[in-house]
């Protein structure tokens, strides 16, 4: 009886572990590498961030604040190849609640076949990036959105 319980426990653990591995089985380095190609030849790598999401029946969101310096050139890149569901990426020039906050860039996953998105800001001190993941019935599916930024001085 004890042995059976042990086997059941081990099997359950195996199922949980393998399902977790399967759900997050994406190569974030490869996703970044694809974006790095978009920096060449003029931009240097500056920073990056990966947001992992698990689809839910509620709408989800995430915000990233990215500082940039005046009079320099920047390239903001997003890779959504490992995000199978709908998403929205918006970039604002000011934080929430600020006067004169403007959307500088917006893209909706359901309206495009692309998975690499590129934005080059002209003038801003900080970029406020917002991801919105709509509610879905595909609960439990995991994915990620990769953000990467390059800069060019002078």
């Amino acid at each position: 009886m004890k042995k059976t319980a042990l086997y059941v426990a081990l099997f359950s653990l195996f199922v949980v572990l393998t399902s977790t591995i399967e759900d997050t089985n994406y190569d974030t380095k490869a996703l970044k590498k694809e974006l790095i190609q978009e920096l060449k030849p003029d931009y240097k790598y500056d920073s990056s961030n990966i947001n992992h999401f698990e689809l839910k029946s509620e709408t989800q969101g995430a915000e990233i604040q990215v500082p940039i310096f005046s009079n320099e050139k920047y390239r903001l890149l997003f890779n959504t190849a490992e995000f199978s569901s709908d998403f929205e990426i918006k970039i604002y020039n000011k934080k929430q609640g600020s006067k004169n906050r403007k959307i500088l860039y917006a893209v909706k996953g359901s309206e495009t076949d692309q998975h690499v998105f590129i934005f080059e800001p002209e003038n801003a001190k900080t970029m406020y990036i917002e991801y919105t993941i709509p509610s879905t019935e595909e609960k439990g599916v995991k994915g990620c959105i990769v953000f990467l930024m390059g800069y060019k001085i002078g």
């Binding site: 500056d46 990056s48 959307i103 917006a106 001085i153």
Partner: protein, 278 residues
């Protein structure tokens, strides 16, 4: 989630489609192409991620504004064995990375190699050997000695390797502490070079760092559930007190007064000495 009221939706899209692998097309959009203005946005419950710039970018900005080389300003590599706690090792990894960038950008080849050796030692102590080892950094640096542009690109690669490593190992907070060490050192170098010869361009770049400091403090606080970094946060708040008057939402340029630069320099020196030791 956010409820957005769009006041004006005048969207002018001028897209350029680039051919890409696998038939995918990429759309490059620049800021002036999208003009959607919106009113205030409601609520915010989601967590904010603060992305810090690479210390290399800040060093390059300072250099392009006239950060001259003064030999004895950087931290001695002889002190590398003095840093025994993980906290000191992380901060001084940042300090040495900043010193290496400063030397590379000023063609100080031997000094750069010495700092690379110090970084290697600290990365071993921090169990980050993969960061250095996986990219054959030493060989690439040696092969590119004298070529400042290539060396700067190699340093950018090093930053990327480190970000990957910290991300893969769930050590994002370590990146903030390393960045804090690098940022304080770069600010110290900037302030000291400016003391030797007043440079308005450099002062402008130093003033601009107010936004980075604000984000750095928020980033460390977010990862400091155990109050492990309270001393560092106090020091950063001390530096922040010199940036009174800075408004991240304002479109006007913020410039520190001569008095503020002098007092900032004094505090940076004190805090930097605490980090690197006497």
């Amino acid at each position: 989630m956010h409820k957005i009221t769009i006041k004006i939706a005048a969207v002018v899209i001028a897209t350029s489609f680039l051919a890409a692998c696998g038939g995918n097309q990429e759309e490059v959009v620049t800021e002036e192409e999208v003009i959607i203005e919106e009113a205030a946005v409601e609520d915010d419950t989601e967590e904010i991620t603060y992305v810090l710039p690479s210390p290399l970018q800040i060093a390059e900005l300072f250099k392009s504004s006239g950060l001259d080389y003064i030999g004895d300003l950087t931290n001695s590599v002889d002190k590398v064995d003095n840093y025994n706690s993980k906290y000191d090792q992380k901060l001084n990894y940042g300090v040495y990375a900043s010193n290496m960038a400063y030397c590379i950008m000023n063609n100080q080849t031997q000094e750069s190699i010495n700092y690379l050796a110090a970084l290697k030692k600290l990365s071993e102590k921090l169990w980050m050997t993969d960061v250095m080892g996986s990219m054959g950094l030493s060989k690439r640096l040696e092969a590119n000695i004298g070529n400042e542009d290539s060396l700067v690109y190699i340093m950018a690669d090093l930053q990327m390797q480190m970000d990957d490593y910290l991300e893969e190992n769930g050590m994002g907070y370590t990146g903030s502490i390393i960045f804090a060490g690098a940022w304080i050192e770069t600010m110290y170098l900037g302030a000291k070079v400016n003391e030797a010869k007043v440079n308005p361009k450099l002062i402008s770049r130093i003033s601009e760092q107010a936004i980075i400091l604000d984000i750095l403090i928020k980033s460390i606080k977010q990862n400091d559930d155990d109050n492990e970094f309270s001393e560092l946060l106090t020091d950063l708040e001390t530096i922040n007190s010199h940036f009174t008057g800075f408004d991240g939402d304002s479109d006007e340029e913020f410039i520190l007064s001569d008095e503020a630069v002098a007092s900032l320099s004094a505090d940076l020196t004190t805090i930097r000495t605490k980090i690197v030791g006497e």
